[in-house]
Assembly symmetry: C2
Homo-oligomer: 228 residues x 2
């Protein structure tokens, strides 16, 4: 078992989840006039949903998570809000995955306060029901066991963070590429490396550019030095 269980989500799954979500919404009898994507995760699902439901109006708010001063808990706050008139309109607030519910709750409040909508409902492709405090009105997939769902629009960022987290926790300074890949599979499983290998290489490039990894010569072969 890898230390961090990862599921790689393919584009086809994204599309079929968005299609299913649209069917759920349509069959509920309520229909949105406007979709508000939660940046950044909700952008792709929101756009697909607009297509499936024939919604023309697409806006966004950005909610970010910032560690509190004492690192006690991640706190969600609104980085970019909205100031438009949505009076008389049914608004759907959309995210990719709901794991705590904080972002969706906050984004819903923003829309209710800013824009005088007729009604606001919330949706996500996936909901982790074992961890969330808030279940959105609509979703396509209920997740019971926690996995890191690796969406295609956050592949490079996830890959880079995954590598950094592993390097930080492993007590080792010098890494050959072989050893990096081997350890990566121990941490995150085979599937991620196989399905996103191009991103793995790009993430290494990024970490080199950012000075996190320094290429060195280790007795004739290239290796990477992590840390100072």
């Amino acid at each position: 078992m890898p230390k961090v269980p990862v599921k790689v989500v393919k584009w086809d799954e994204i599309v079929s989840w968005a299609r299913r979500l649209a069917e759920n919404i349509r069959s509920s009898g309520w229909s949105p006039d406007v979709v508000v994507a939660i940046a950044r995760g909700g952008y792709v699902p929101a756009r697909l949903l607009c297509d499936f439901l024939g919604v023309q109006d697409l806006l966004s708010v950005q909610v970010v998570h910032w560690p509190g001063a004492a690192q006690v808990a991640e706190k969600a706050y609104v980085k970019y809000g909205l100031s438009v008139d949505l009076s008389g309109k049914n608004v759907l607030v959309m995210d990719d995955i709901v794991d705590t519910g904080d972002s969706v709750v906050l984004a819903k409040e923003v829309v209710e306060r800013c824009c005088r909508p007729k009604s606001v409902k919330t949706a996500a492709l996936q909901v982790i029901t074992s961890t969330t405090k808030f279940v959105p009105d609509y979703y396509a997939v209920e997740v019971r066991d926690w996995y890191w769902y690796q969406y295609p629009w956050t592949a490079l960022e996830d890959m880079s963070s995954f590598i950094v987290r592993m390097l930080r926790e492993e007590k080792q300074q010098l890494w050959t590429l072989d050893r990096l890949m081997e350890k990566f599979v121990e941490w995150y499983g085979n599937e991620l490396l196989e399905e996103r290998f191009l991103y793995f290489r790009e993430a290494l490039e990024r970490l080199k550019r950012d000075g996190v990894l320094k290429p060195m010569d280790c007795g004739g072969q290239t290796c990477y030095k992590y840390g100072q």
Copy 2:
């Protein structure tokens, strides 16, 4: 040759174009602090670009095209603008495809006026250089011959519009499914029907729901009546 030449764009192509665009931007020496997606087309490309360039801030403006009163020309206007402070920031305005340049030019003006950015540049996955009046600062693919590029996030809307346009121009009231498909291939080519067949069926469902097509019995087999 189909009447309307269509190219179906796959997700893999989208990703590799976004990756190439990110490389173009990186190698130019300029780097965005904020990405502004043009709704709705720019949403998916903008999100992918944020991943490839490590940009955290993602916003959007919505530009729509509306036929002028006399149907003389389509006119682009801003449906949802922005009012945030982007002072000191480099902003990239992002769309999927540029064919006239109107949307990108307008969105760029919005950002310059609303938000006091340090600089604003424009980008698209594709640019049709034979038709556009404006070439964005960055793009991944130059298109010389006009095609309808059928992106995956607008598949159902395109499919529905394509069917309606065909029905409107063909002088025929009753359609069997066979005949509809045959005529569709004449108009738009094989590839679209094959690659997006699920959407073709969904578009027929949508047109039935909207009363554009009425299912009837035609001597034992189902056919569709178009018009009043």
